[in-house]
Symmetry: C2
Subunit: 338 residues, 2 copies
Amino acid sequence: MDIGVTQMNIKRLARVTVLAFSLLAITSGNAFAKDQLPSWNDGPVKTAIVDFIAAVTDKNGPDYVESAERIATFDNDGTLWLEYPMYTQVLFAFERVKELAPQHPEWKTEQPFKALLEGDMKTVGASGMKGLMEIVMATHSGMTAEEFASQASHWMATTKNQHFDRLYTELGYQPQVELLEYLRANGFKTFIVSGGGIAFMRPVSEQMYGIPPEQVVGSSVESKFEMKDGKYVIVRQPKIHFVDDKATKPIGIYQHIGRRPILAFGNADADMQMIQYTMAGEGRRLGLFVHHTDSVREYAYDRKSHVGMLDKVLDLADEKGWIIVNMKDDWNTIFAPK
Amino acid sequence: MDIGVTQMNIKRLARVTVLAFSLLAITSGNAFAKDQLPSWNDGPVKTAIVDFIAAVTDKNGPDYVESAERIATFDNDGTLWLEYPMYTQVLFAFERVKELAPQHPEWKTEQPFKALLEGDMKTVGASGMKGLMEIVMATHSGMTAEEFASQASHWMATTKNQHFDRLYTELGYQPQVELLEYLRANGFKTFIVSGGGIAFMRPVSEQMYGIPPEQVVGSSVESKFEMKDGKYVIVRQPKIHFVDDKATKPIGIYQHIGRRPILAFGNADADMQMIQYTMAGEGRRLGLFVHHTDSVREYAYDRKSHVGMLDKVLDLADEKGWIIVNMKDDWNTIFAPK
């Protein structure tokens, strides 16, 4: 290639390039303006979201926030994916007990494993948090980091939720997937901050939400670095390292992200402290909660639910300026079309 | 604007745009190729780094790695910034004790504070790890997250290191700053993984290395979410939450990043496990150590040093294929020019 000629051409082409991009920007930005949140119905909630994003990205406006500080945190269970009538991760743990039973003959007589294997869910429930933790530890520790990631992602990608006849990887809320994309397109960095297991969510977070593993914050077990079969690995231990829930969600954010979010989205009283922490920062902020009000397309539950209880938040929302998203009215689609 | 005409133009301009970019890519990639690592001397070490980055980014090569998996982790003390003869964070803690002394009359009689205030460093040293932890806790807890960040960044940005007559924020290694930029330009995500305090490094990591706070992993204290002066804040507690050192560096990586790095860079035996973990993954990997060999421009220390001891690593490097960077020979610049 003749470099001299190339350089001359480049100058001319660079000018044309700038022009081309200007035109593309104009057409995509205005003339062909597209609704970035098609699964959200028009109304005050959608307007509040769109206005907030416009305000913090307007370089000449009073609410402008540098891109680096545009941190958005989302709870997962009930906020990004289905949690009712039972958390996905608990269902996974129950299934794993069944798969692992042949290697654990002692479970035939030990509770709560015996009850679980016999389908006696009443006894399992009666074993309380202690019983549940035994089930979680038996199914979430002892293996390497890679093995657990593979077990979790395999289960979610191959197991169907009976009620919806959809794989668990298909049960993320479509309006939230759109919102996450919309935020990222506006220079936000999006994080999951969930009481669920960090290692359970990470293998599917990129595929389901476009959120990479390093932007997932959650509860965790302790782990050890060791040599196994001649290879250095991380082995998961049967002991809780961190519970990322209620008043420890802001702690998880501090440890993991190190900045105060400017937008936070939850669906339960357990997310209230994350929203309080977010709203207490300087400048414009947005705090939102999904209210599960759709008994036809999903479920309706709030103040008395055993999962995702939403009670105090409903009392305080008006006074605090938190936005309550009414699933039935504000979302025209719940899950992505089949 | 006539949209019909615009749309016709766009197609033509899009073709021209593609052409312009192809030409720009050719000229920047080959004909006008620029040394991306000017502070690194030519030699086997620089070649190994450049070859590795070329190999994992070559889409048609056998060593190609998707951008999302291009995780690079760097130790901080002695790898990215000065650590000799004493860790920067320890110097900060000592200074803070002096500043806080008027509020702590009891320190006039309590060790190791008494000795520190009297400049009796021998007694401070004799107080060992227990004494040092008391000094660290007295200066790193009790305040809000924001207050500590402001204290740390203010000290580093205003305090001069006497030996080099430079501010602490100017004592990052220039060759590493170039390498970090070069990695990011090649689709890598760069992280700090340090035994130092996560909250001490974060306020300066973006400015010094282009690494945002959420990509800093380090040791931490426990913290609490509470209301203070009518505002929700995180308050740092006088208790260790996580020590990110030696065999817990891979754990810090697992908890925080959730992926195994493909490149890791340290300078001490305390970084060995991070490099072992990195090298044990599938596919091509790169593990490197800075060897401080430059008694003129910086310092020379290794096997018997009280900070950044590099001993076992030097014995194992050849056998394991770890790269030892000889500071004196491989770096033509240590710090950015004044």
